[in-house]
Symmetry: C2
Subunit: 630 residues, 2 copies
């Protein structure tokens, strides 16, 4: 036997050392260390960078190094005041489930090699199906997380509906969709004009009317609506889309409805959550992440597909060297045929072990408490003169901010400062988001360790902490290298006069170098009176600034604004929402006189907004205004 | 604190129980239980299927249930006689690394939340870069395995070279490529004519001449070669492609060279392995799986990209709710921007802990011993009158079979029987593959537990075990539902006379139902004398059977065969290699007289080969013959 094998006594010794060290660390008093300890790349490289040693080192020395050089420099995810992003608090029996999977090196790809762990995964998936209200012929697969589940869903839908990729397919999501939806679409080969980002309603939910308009515009243009990614618990606000309405729209048009419930879906285990998530069971596929609201440690995501055979059809592949592992016997599930992985560990064992050990009632209780605590936070915010509710409690998320007298920029500086000040201590930790372009503090209650006093302490901080805005400098502007080639400009296009650029208020504060760039890259275009410059629900990425003439803006056939020299439009469609995708046109603009306009291509416009603070500040202001009525 | 939280004493108790149970199980004598215990879905459902309990259950009872109902029904991956597929034997310190990651719920997505674990991942990636000979500006990311790494590589190349998806892009791989390459291409939106499967040389390596021909044919046709997936240690034979030659071809044409070293790349840690893998460092990207030859438990894969910034450019995405987590400070690596996952556990900690504990020398020794043992197996096979070497030892893999006097079908039955007989005992476990259509026993030495006597015992079995071929029934034919719509036939195409179908030897043994299907779906097509029916390196999926007339077959301009009534061609391009992809035409066929032929679309031809044993047997025979000279 080689040197990498250990006898049982040594295994036990090392194992007990690790168990004891983790247990000791997990019960350290919450107020002893900050939730986050930052460290620079140089500092950590000095601690850890070194070539792999030829000779081994004592195990306890290695554990001490981890304790000193690695573990202090990560957030304490299980902290009861951790309300940032989507918190993750696992359970100890789940972690031990991971140890069993690793120690015995489980590989749950095929029934023939791994019948026991495969059945365990089926059992866990059956639980999820029951909880959601899915039929027994649904199928599923555990994944590394929500990103993989959303990608698997989109790939499955494409295979089930059309087979190989086609240019005509279109994917729809609202602007509150998780970034993984855009990333998945991009990776799966959808081009910039094949995903529509839609505006949300006043409660930050997908608007069924916008979905219908966008789909019908695409159908008229000869495109093929394929897939709608709705959300059950959006990352920013916890909003749940109107699932029954959206399901009806999709059914009528033969479009695949996917619901991303990565964050919210397990709330079906509580009564209030189930009511909020009404219609979830109508989806063709659902993402749900046990490593979020089912209290599993990273990694554990899940995809369920209503017509189970569609998942198999999309991913099955049988090369020569795997023929032995495939028995072809019905009901012997080979999980490698249900997703993107071939070798795959057992994520099921941790779910099974923790649910069996604590009982489901304990999970229901934990979920219910999070919903309670978010409502409690909302009530406190509503009662406070100093705080403003930005979005009400939805599932476990509430968004708010300290009121300021000043501008939107002032509000952002103040609240960003309060967030940073909180994160330096050991009371709690929250993150921020932007809702219709407005900066908001975002509090997400998810940990089973969080108590009422933890929420109160954080709200107290935002109510009462002093703000020294001199210390709250704006974040440095980072120049990206991306899209650099766009600077080369369009061959043959006549160059715009730099003075014309400078004459527009939007560009008035640009330095000479940036004015030159705009002049080099912009086109000057003329539209005759009566022409539609852009049309609502169409696809286009250009940004327009009016140099001469007037235009009227129509939304759903109703005039909402008039524009003239110096005004601009198209910024929502031009701004990249993610992975090259963006909104379609949300209004129609008609030239009422002859119009002369500067037209900037979307990628360059994005670059300018990133690089030029004066442009960014005006555009942010416009986005806030226009998103509020979108 | 909620009920899902445990005190330190309980954590320690449960943890020690699990550690002790795994240690006990891992050192159970190898001969006490079979390597595989099979169980039917019904049997396991009876043991495990049940709704989630509302109330919790005692932990020791749950461990007993796992021990009784789950763990016996999986292969013992760490068994020293486990030579099937790609074996996986982890180390115990690695498993404890997984426990640390799970217990502390590490999420290594952003530097700001997880600087320590991020630096640990950078350190481990630096080790890999050093071992491979990659430059310091290379970047990488740990993944769930080779499938994810290959998919990430292809997505990264597309973003780096062209940005959004285009129909004109072409991917190349040889037929020994891992199935995950085809699956990745399909998922990423490459259509059936956008991946070329190329034939291999007599040592099962990619042929540089075939690659050049295929690329140049595509360039002439206005397509754009994007990506070559070469292999460093193919799954079937361990073959390493001629990397320096392929790198030169790719460089000349500006094509991205990816090397899939999931199985083989860590052999660079041994001197012989490094020599075999010469040129690996020339690749634009490399997949390497620590959960294979670096002895990590599942899951742990890795992708390295030579120009590191290309990986970041391909995957970075910054939604509003994540802005706080992005500092924009250079060198603060946010690993969520380097691949497809947002939440991601630490796979680095297990690599770090095991390499530090044992020292690199112990890993080099284990890898070297595997190479030794594969060579030892080859020598024994060469010395034996009863065994035939099918492919020589390459890295840790050797393919062979028991000699039989009979047909190829007889050889397959005999060797499949010997494999099954072996798997029922506790001596060892191997799997099979097909090389140029010939069935072969495949032995892959990878476990650090394997010794010379384990290899000898398995070779002894194939030399001496009795074969009762009556017991060795052929595998049952499984009917797939896939591609069912193709049966609907082509609207308006005249139906072929069933008697014409029956008159061809290939279809002579079909039953009436299948003859009807062929007649309904086939087209009858006429080619004038002198016409090229198919041309070498072109793309097409149709299968041709000659009803009347003669044709000549040319390969690289040289005539290699003449065909007449009843002969057929196109089967290699028609057969699906994986995920809808297949070979291009490997020969040109010219009509020497007027030719009348039945033409079957590829998907239907695949279905027929699956469903009709008489057709399958003839086609398999033809494939063996023609692949031998491809």
């Amino acid at each position: 036997m080689g040197r990498l094998w250990l006898d049982a006594k040594t295994m036990r010794e090392l194992g007990h050392q690790v168990v004891d060290a983790i247990a000791e660390r997990l019960v350290r008093p919450w107020d002893a260390t900050p939730i986050i300890a930052a460290a620079s790349p140089d500092e950590l490289a000095a601690r850890l960078a070194e070539p792999a040693p030829e000779d081994g080192r004592p195990f306890d020395e290695l554990l001490r190094r981890l304790d000193r050089d690695v573990l202090p420099f990560m957030t304490r995810n299980e902290h009861p005041g951790y309300f940032a992003y989507i918190p993750g608090s696992g359970t100890w029996p789940s972690a031990l489930g991971d140890l069993i999977a690793s120690g015995l090196n489980m590989d749950v790809g095929s029934w023939s090699l791994s019948a026991g762990p495969s059945e365990l995964e089926l059992v866990v998936l059956d639980w999820f199906k029951q909880w959601i209200g899915y039929p027994s012929h649904a199928a599923g697969v555990l994944t590394s997380g929500g990103s993989a589940a959303n990608m698997t869903a989109l790939a499955c839908a494409r295979e089930a509906v059309v087979g190989a990729m086609s240019d005509r397919l279109v994917v729809y999501c609202a602007d509150h969709a998780h970034s993984s939806v855009a990333r998945a679409a991009r990776i799966l080969g959808f081009r910039p004009d094949q995903l529509r980002v839609l505006p949300v309603d006043e409660r930050y939910r997908m608007r069924p009317d916008a979905l219908v308009h966008a789909m019908d515009a695409d159908i008229r243009a000869g495109r093929e609506p394929l897939f709608v990614a709705a959300v059950a618990g959006s990352t920013s606000t916890g909003a749940v889309d109107p699932l029954p309405e959206i399901a009806a729209i999709c059914k009528e048009r033969g479009v695949w409805l996917h619901v991303d419930g990565a964050y919210g879906a397990f709330a079906v285990l509580s009564e209030r959550g189930r009511a909020t998530l009404r219609g979830l069971e109508l989806a063709d596929s659902i993402t749900l992440d046990p490593h979020k609201w089912l209290y599993q440690p990273f990694e554990c995501g899940c995809l369920l597909v209503r017509q189970g055979h569609q998942l198999l059809n999309a991913f099955e592949i049988v090369p020569d060297y795997l023929r032995d592992a495939k028995t072809g016997v019905p009901r012997e599930v080979n999980f490698a045929d249900y997703g993107m992985q071939l070798s795959r560990t057992s994520h099921a064992i941790k779910v099974w072990l923790s649910v069996q050990y604590f009982g489901l009632a304990a999970f229901r209780e934990a979920i219910d408490r999070c919903i309670d605590l978010a409502q409690h936070a909302e009530e406190r915010i509503r009662r406070s003169d100093r705080l403003e509710l930005v979005s009400p409690a939805a599932l476990g998320i509430v968004c708010f901010r300290r009121r300021t007298d000043g501008s939107e920029d002032e509000a952002e500086r103040t609240n960003a400062h309060l967030i940073r000040a909180l994160s330096r201590g050991s009371i709690g930790f929250v993150s921020s988001t932007r809702l219709r372009g407005r900066f908001a503090v975002r509090l997400c209650v998810l940990n089973h360790t969080s108590r009422r006093e933890d929420v109160d302490a954080v709200i107290d901080h935002f109510e009462h902490a002093a703000v020294d805005t001199r210390a709250a400098a704006p974040a440095p502007v980072v120049r990206h290298e991306r899209d650099a080639r766009i600077e080369e400009g369009w061959l043959g296009a006549p160059r715009v006069d730099p003075d014309v650029v400078r004459s527009l208020p939007l560009f008035a504060e640009l330095d000479d170098r940036d004015v030159e760039r705009v002049a080099r890259i912009a086109r000057e275009v003329r539209f005759p009176a009566g022409a539609a410059i852009v049309e609502q629900w169409e696809v286009g990425r250009e940004f327009y600034a009016i140099v001469d003439g007037t235009a009227r803006v129509f939304k759903d056939g109703k005039e909402i604004a008039e524009m003239g020299r110096g005004d601009y439009f198209g910024e929502l469609a031009a701004l990249e929402w993610g992975a090259s995708f963006s909104y379609p046109r949300l209004a129609t603009v008609l030239a009422t006189t002859d119009v002369r306009a500067l037209v900037l291509p979307g990628p360059f416009f994005n670059e300018l907004v990133r690089d030029a603070p004066s442009v960014a500040s005006r555009i942010r202001h416009t986005v806030r205004e226009r998103m509020a009525r979108a």
